[in-house]
């Protein structure tokens, strides 16, 4: 017993180092698996508050470009509004109950990140605004990510620039679909994999979300095809997609809530059983 205590006292530095290093590695491994980062995330009171007050100041510096983006979006929405007019789906008699499957909330990014391999953003909406895990996040130009952790006033977003993120996407002109992932090299380019070899793809084609995951509705813009090649087994295409969004300059975002999500998931789970 005496010897054990002596050993501990003699090696106390090394043992403390080992303990703390082990704890940090544990946290690291947790963040590398999806939705597991329980303790260490920036959606808490302290970090959220600091980022929020810093953003209050730094928000002024890019007011001009953000206003430009919002104005562009207003123009687009206004033209949609005046042109869409009389498109009646004959299966719906009550035109009010139609188009309500998705609910939108707006939010501001208070912390952006794009230079790491696993990037998380922080936004200034949280549980108080009924934001929950797995809601989609988009900007006026395209997709941004998926809500990961929420606190009372803040939430973290698993960016599409994250090696653990997988989002279902498809070609705009045909319905061939695959999944989006990121190889952590360029924050403007992400990869679309698992597109069938028979799909007719060309450089410059538009990629949109496929609506298969019940997070994003179908038809949210993602980007255009920059270049493509067959994968090692020559069955699927690997496509480099240039994002419409400039991920390095985003401020105003929209959060998409799929109202029917539970229903869809229950239905799909019922099929699997």
């Amino acid at each position: 017993m005496q010897q054990i205590i002596n050993f501990i006292i003699r090696n106390k530095n090394f043992l403390l180092f080992l303990l703390l290093f082990g704890v940090s590695i544990l946290f690291t491994i947790q963040t590398h698996s999806y939705h597991k980062s329980k303790f260490i995330n920036s959606a808490n009171f302290l970090t959220g508050g600091v980022y929020n007050s810093a953003n209050n100041i730094s928000g002024y510096f890019n007011l001009k470009s953000q206003n430009q983006l919002l104005a562009e979006e207003n123009t687009r929405l206004r033209s949609l509004l005046s042109n869409s007019g009389i498109k009646v789906d004959s299966t719906y008699i009550d035109s009010l109950s139609f188009n309500k499957a998705y609910r939108f909330h707006n939010a501001n990014i208070i912390k952006n990140s794009y230079s790491l391999t696993d990037n998380f953003l922080t936004i200034n909406k949280g549980k108080k605004d009924s934001i929950k895990q797995d809601f989609g996040v988009i900007s006026s130009k395209g997709i941004i990510g998926i809500i990961d952790k929420t606190s009372k006033n803040y939430a973290t977003v698993l960016s599409i620039l994250n090696t653990t993120s997988r989002i279902s996407a498809q070609l705009k002109k045909t319905n061939h679909y695959g999944s989006l992932k990121w190889n952590s090299i360029n924050p403007n380019i992400i990869q679309l994999i698992d597109i069938e070899k028979i799909a007719p793809i060309k450089i410059g084609d538009t990629i949109i979300t496929s609506g298969r995951s019940s997070i994003f509705p179908k038809g949210i813009n993602v980007g255009v095809i920059e270049n493509f090649q067959l994968d090692a087994a020559e069955n699927y295409y690997e496509i480099n997609v240039k994002l419409f969004n400039d991920m390095t300059n985003i401020e105003h975002v929209y959060i998409i809530e799929n109202v029917d999500k539970n229903e869809i998931i229950n239905l799909q789970n019922g099929i699997n059983e």
């Binding site: 703390l20 704890v23 940090s24």
Partner: protein, 168 residues
């Protein structure tokens, strides 16, 4: 003693805030950021207890991690350099360290540069290996570590020069 304590407390918080609010948004050439918060570990008094340094480094790293959503990467790298700091001190300052009389204001520039370089490079290699977390991307790890190290060393040296007290 009291003034030393308050200096280090202020330095701790100042470095965390500067790191989180400024240095992490530089993104020079897309991804190069300095991680100058390790100055806290580098400039910690040599005479003090190593247990305190290791615990404080963990706390410092974890605070940075909390802000940057990086799990425990900064904490691991900080604890690592805090643990092996005596070895680095010995190899860069030699015999002065033996007598435990280093004052970071008074040592000559060359050995100070060696000291910062060693501590920064080791920190960055551990940091980027954990961040990228894949052996197959070792080139990317080394590349990021190299570029960020250069940046960090430049910033650290500038900070120490700017904030050093004049010896009359």
């Amino acid at each position: 003693m009291n003034s030393i304590l308050s200096i280090h407390t202020i330095r701790f918080f100042a470095l965390v805030f500067v790191q989180v609010l400024i240095f992490n948004h530089i993104n020079f050439l897309g991804y190069i950021n300095p991680y100058a918060y390790i100055l806290f570990i580098a400039l910690f008094p040599v005479k003090n207890n190593r247990l305190i340094l290791i615990s404080l480094s963990f706390l410092l790293g974890l605070t940075i991690d909390l802000f940057l959503d990086t799990g425990g990467i900064h904490a691991a790298a900080s604890v690592f350099i805090a643990y092996i700091r005596p070895v680095i001190l010995k190899s860069s300052f030699g015999t002065i360290y033996e007598y435990q009389t280093i004052k970071f204001n008074t040592v000559d520039f060359g050995s100070k540069l060696t000291y910062f370089t060693l501590i920064t490079v080791l920190h960055h290699i551990v940091f980027f290996s954990l961040e990228i977390f894949s052996i197959s991307k070792i080139i990317l790890i080394l590349q990021k570590a190299l570029f960020s190290s250069i940046f960090t060393i430049l910033i650290s040296i500038s900070i120490t020069i700017i904030f050093s007290r004049k010896n009359k």
